[in-house]
Subunit: 336 residues, 2 copies
Amino acid sequence: MLEPPYLLYLGGAADTIAAKTARGLAVWRPEQCIGQVRTDPAGISVGLPDLTMDEAAAAGARTLVIGVANAGGIMAERTVADVLLALDAGLDVASGLHQRLADQPAIRDRAAALGRHLWDVREPPPGLKVGTGVPRAGKRLLTVGTDCSVGKMYTTLAIEREMRTRGMSCDFRATGQTGILISGAGMPIDAVVSDFISGAVEQLSPARDDDGWDLIEGQGSLFHPSYAGVSLGLLHGAQPDALVLCHEHGRERMRHMTHHRVPPLADCLQRNLEAARLTNPDVIAVGVALNTSGLDERTARDACTEVEIALDLPCADPVRHGVGAIVDRWAVCFGR
Amino acid sequence: MLEPPYLLYLGGAADTIAAKTARGLAVWRPEQCIGQVRTDPAGISVGLPDLTMDEAAAAGARTLVIGVANAGGIMAERTVADVLLALDAGLDVASGLHQRLADQPAIRDRAAALGRHLWDVREPPPGLKVGTGVPRAGKRLLTVGTDCSVGKMYTTLAIEREMRTRGMSCDFRATGQTGILISGAGMPIDAVVSDFISGAVEQLSPARDDDGWDLIEGQGSLFHPSYAGVSLGLLHGAQPDALVLCHEHGRERMRHMTHHRVPPLADCLQRNLEAARLTNPDVIAVGVALNTSGLDERTARDACTEVEIALDLPCADPVRHGVGAIVDRWAVCFGR
């Protein structure tokens, strides 16, 4: 699929959330990222050298990745112009925006003329099937959340890294555009036709008998009034053996929602376990990942301890503390 | 949208499930159906006169409705040929198959040349938005099910008829292709991109302040491993004030599933109420619709009584007994 090394396009992004995709790649695939392109020198940086398209191509870059999201997923005119420059310089281009590269006539025609590849990672594969719910071989861990944007992707990738460090065979299975760009494959689950949500996850994470685990990136929350359908279909399709609950400390209202409170952790975990039992009656929880970025070190530790006592599960901030405690519990529960 | 009177296309359908859409129209909109077209004279009939396309057009028919579903929703070659005959005879054509009329070049070109309309009712409207979960004005009733194909559409339409007979203002809101063809409008919820499930239902059933009720057709089941995501998004988008639980007596396995049992009625109702409270904390159940078609009269009555005692809700078979008892309970609960 995507060919590294990557050049990350930040455009004029002014904050880290707008540059979330580029940041994800820079954090998780630093060895594959050789530079960044900013249209505003005072804009956000992900800490890579600023390169022009030609400099990047000369340095060996293969693919320009549109690493910036904006309201509505629209492709700005300036972005279109810069994509054309990248194609001219010899790069393929990848994007996770709702608005597709292939739907921009100028981009499509230039890419065709030059023989470059365009990767619209938010485009589901053709021929998806409805889910079957038939138990399949292999073991799977799924991250679930109290809300959107609480750290499910980061946690899943951190667990992959930790397990691999311990010599275990496992694979991150991406379900969102940033995760897909990081791992080079995956299923853009929020872009799938609703009849096929669970079937798409069955396809993303097929039966495996090599003793390895699939680590599936969760999306949304069963308690989010916009996206809970996606979360439930994903949960059923994943047939998870293990759940890790993700939460941001102190968040009281659901993202972009003024009418909806973030659910209590215990209720959220209980509801996810109940729903998951439909396709895997043996599912268990193995830990809680707590985003404590707003807290000082001591308060963060106390917050995790409080959750550990309340839920009787290991709790850690993957960024601050790593996920060793969660993987320890997983190893004990599954005899690894 | 669709223009009656309709001519119902049954093709070579050999059983009533294949002809489910035609049957729904013949039962619920008999005054709009003037004939049927069968390619196999021994095939299923919905009790209408057999007409040719030309005879139907001469009798005033405006639209040929593809009233037959087949595996995969594929349009057979014979069907394509018959659609062309209908266009030639002066009819518009409507279809709820996955495979769209407009994607068949022969059909598309002929319709364009003759100025006929093609209605692919499984095509969602453009510009859908993600759900907001913001409480909206008006009252809504939603049918939910233990499984697919247990009578949710029939029950919802029966409640509409019963309420209107009592002089109440209410509107059936269709979410599946048969319901859309019956009511002439609606939202094909299983064809919507998963990000927009709840938003699509918010659009289908917008705020109303005329004291009337929206009666929303449910889909699937929270316990169906293929479709639960659709059911949950629909439930959240509907913000129902009242639920009616639908079930087929004696069904033990989920439709098309050998690994999944139909849930106990009480568990199913409880789980639906819990989930519905996310967007309407005041939701209540007002009755159970029990499909007893396999039972004799006495056993059917006993089965309903058993459910009434177990769930403390009125229970009736909408086909056998009507939905008067359910609407009675609804009227008491909502002071109508």
